[in-house]
C-alpha cells in the first residue's frame, strides 16, 4: 500500500479541536489518555488481589457504589482511540510492526528508555491529575489555570532535559 504523508498540522489541529469540542458538547468533559491506563491498572490490581485494592484508599474509590473502572467513559474512549488510530494507519498505509529510533542507538536502549519514559510520564500524570490530553489540552480549552500550568511545566521540563537525552533522538 502507498504510504501517504501526514495531514497538514494546522488542519489536523482543527480536527482534534472539533473532537475535543464534541466531548465537551456531548459529555460535558474533555479528552483523556493516562486515566484510561490508570483504570486498566486499577482493574488488574483488583483482579489479582481484591483485598489489597479494597483496603487501599487509592484503589477503593474506583469501586464505590458498585462502580467498575473498565466500564467508564474514559476506558471506552481509550479503546476507541486504538480503533481510530488503526483506521487512520490503514487508510494512510502506515500499519507496520516496528521499533522507531535514531540509527545511533540500539533497539534495546530505545525500548528501555521508552519503558522508563512511560513510568515517569504516567507517575507525573497521576500527581498532576492528567496528562497532555486530559490536563493540558482539555484544561486549556476550558480556560483552567491547571491546564496552562500543566502545559508550561511539561514542555518547559522537556526542553530542560532535552540536552541530556539528545543522543536518543538526533
Amino acid at each position: 500500500m502507498n504510504k501517504k504523508s501526514y495531514m497538514n498540522p494546522y488542519i489536523a489541529g482543527v480536527l482534534l479541536g472539533l473532537v475535543l469540542l464534541s466531548a465537551m458538547f456531548f459529555s460535558g468533559r474533555g479528552l483523556g489518555a493516562s486515566g484510561g491506563l490508570k483504570y486498566t491498572v486499577v482493574a488488574a490490581v483488583a483482579a489479582i488481589d481484591k483485598d489489597h485494592a479494597m483496603q487501599s484508599p487509592y484503589y477503593s474509590k474506583y469501586f464505590e457504589d458498585g462502580k467498575s473502572p473498565l466500564k467508564s467513559w474514559l476506558a471506552l474512549e481509550v479503546l476507541g482511540m486504538i480503533l481510530g488510530g488503526f483506521i487512520s494507519g490503514a487508510i494512510s498505509g502506515r500499519l507496520k510492526f516496528k521499533i522507531e529510533k535514531s540509527p545511533k542507538i540500539s533497539n534495546k536502549k530505545r525500548l528501555l528508555f521508552a519503558f522508563l519514559g512511560g513510568v515517569f510520564f504516567v507517575y507525573g500524570a497521576q500527581l498532576a491529575r492528567g496528562c497532555t490530553s486530559g490536563a493540558a489540552l482539555s484544561g486549556m480549552a476550558v480556560l483552567s489555570v491547571a491546564g496552562f500550568v500543566t502545559m508550561i511545566s511539561i514542555f518547559g521540563s522537556a526542553y530542560l532535559f532535552a540536552w541530556f537525552f539528545r543522543k536518543l533522538w538526533i
Partner: protein
C-alpha cells in the same frame, strides 16, 4: 442544550458509546497528525519538527472558541463542563516529571496509544511503563499525599485569575499562538533534519 449527557439524560450505555465514538475521532486525529511517530514528536524539543506545537495550540483554540460560541448562542452550558481542579504544587511537580518522561520515551500517553494502534513496538513498552507508573503512584500514594492534595486552589479559571473577560483572554491566546507558529516555522528551517522528517 449541551452537555447533552446531562440535559438529554443519557443512559449509561449511550454515554459509554459516545466515549467510544469520541475515542475513535481522537485516535484518528492524532495518527493523521503524525503523533504516532516518536521521532516526529521529539523534534519539538530539538527544533526540527514542530508539529506538536501547531496541532496542540490549534486544537486548544478551536475547542475554546467553539465552546464559547456554543455558550453564547445558548447551546452549551459551560458551567456544567468539567474544569480541572488546580493543585499548584502537584501540577508543577507532576508536569515536570511528565516532561522528563516525554523526552526519555518520546511519547505522552495519548500519542503512545496512537503509535501502538499502528504497530509501534516502542509505544508498547512506553505504555507498559505507563501502567507500572500508575501502579507505583497508587502504591506510593501515602508518601506523596501531602504534595498531591496540598495547595488546592479549586477549579480556577485563568480569565478570572487575570481579571479579564474570556473573550479578551482568548484573543490574547490567539496572538501568542500565531507568534509561536511563526517561531516554529523559523525553527524548522534553521534546525531541519530532512533525514528524520522525510523518513515517515
Amino acid at each position: 442544550m449541551g452537555p447533552l449527557s446531562i440535559f438529554s439524560e443519557f443512559s449509561e450505555g449511550l454515554n459509554l458509546l459516545i466515549g467510544f465514538l469520541i475515542g475513535i475521532g481522537f485516535g484518528f486525529a492524532l495518527e493523521q497528525a503524525g503523533f504516532s511517530s516518536s521521532r516526529k514528536l521529539a523534534g519539538m524539543f530539538y527544533g526540527y519538527d514542530t508539529t506538536v506545537l501547531k496541532v496542540f495550540f490549534t486544537a486548544a483554540i478551536v475547542a475554546l472558541i467553539g465552546s464559547q460560541l456554543l455558550s453564547f448562542f445558548g447551546l452549551l452550558n459551560l458551567n456544567l463542563v468539567f474544569v480541572n481542579p488546580y493543585y499548584l504544587g502537584a501540577t508543577i511537580v507532576g508536569g515536570t516529571i511528565m516532561g522528563a518522561g516525554f523526552i526519555m520515551g518520546g511519547f505522552c500517553p495519548g500519542t503512545g496509544i496512537s503509535a501502538l494502534s499502528i504497530g509501534k513496538i516502542d509505544a508498547l513498552f512506553f505504555l507498559f511503563g505507563g501502567m507500572v507508573g500508575a501502579f507505583l503512584f497508587a502504591e506510593t500514594f501515602p508518601f506523596v499525599q501531602t504534595l498531591a492534595m496540598g495547595s488546592y486552589k479549586g477549579p480556577l479559571k485563568i480569565d478570572e485569575w487575570l481579571g479579564v473577560s474570556p473573550g479578551v483572554f482568548t484573543l490574547l491566546l490567539v496572538i501568542v499562538a500565531v507568534g509561536l507558529f511563526w517561531l516554529a516555522e523559523l525553527a524548522e528551517k534553521k534546525f531541519k533534519r530532512p533525514e528524520i522528517t522525510s523518513e515517515f
